[in-house]
Symmetry: C2
Subunit: 146 residues, 2 copies
């Protein structure tokens, strides 16, 4: 289990990859972001994006899934507090393979047994361009005394 002490500033975790299909883009957005650019290929083709793109919420979810599987499920997490500086830098198109990373930005160990930790999660596309970035603020338990 990863405790707050195991997350020093600048430590970086690879989160693996996720490839998103057109069908998944449309199914996700039908529920959570039913706009033409996300659910209708013909209508999407007429937008400035020139075709279907994933909902920003879908992108957030993909990044969170990768982070949960690779890091957060192994972390003594008490709670998430929120997020900031969320950027949708480049449209996510069908069949893009997204590669995730998580980097520790801030870590304040407090005497109450908790670490107040901020990390940046990023997704990059096949070209290596960052398509999504967010900073998450959360509380992680400190390592219990032996």
């Amino acid at each position: 289990l990863l405790y707050a002490e195991d997350m020093p500033v600048d430590r970086r975790f690879d989160l693996g990859t996720y490839t998103v299909s057109a069908d998944e883009i449309k199914a996700f957005a039908t529920l959570w972001d039913p706009l033409p650019m996300h659910v209708d290929e013909e209508a999407a083709a007429a937008t400035p994006f020139g075709g279907l793109i994933a909902s920003g919420v879908h992108t957030i979810a993909i990044a969170n899934r990768l982070a949960a599987e690779a890091v957060i499920s192994q972390t003594a997490l008490l709670a998430g507090r929120g997020g900031r500086e969320m950027r949708l830098l480049k449209p996510v198109r069908p069949d893009t393979r997204l590669t995730g990373s998580l980097q520790i930005l801030e870590n304040e160990l407090r005497d109450n047994g908790r670490g107040y930790i901020s990390w940046r999660i990023e997704l990059a596309d096949d070209a290596g361009d960052t398509v999504y970035s967010i900073i998450i603020d959360c509380i992680v338990h400190r390592r219990p005394a032996a």
Copy 2:
């Protein structure tokens, strides 16, 4: 259709309500945030939350769905740019009825035919407490010349 000119600062839109069930909390989190506090009632009972709570990503998705249906689908949206100051203020528990609102915070009309608009989306619970808040930055088309 709502153009940038129709979104003056302080204009407020009601987004309606959404009630989230325990089954939906678990199903969503199984895909996108598979942590015990979101997918396993017994494990959740042993956390400081004392029971199942919705994933933050699920809360984001619910707010986005309400905003998409009530406002964004009626808006001449060009693109979302990102989000900031996302706060998970209070856990969202099963069968909570969430009520959404969207308020315009900033609106910069530019000569390129676009409005650079920021709005705050909030969800409140049955007690009237704000459980979630985010500021979204986006680009909305200006009203075409007659």
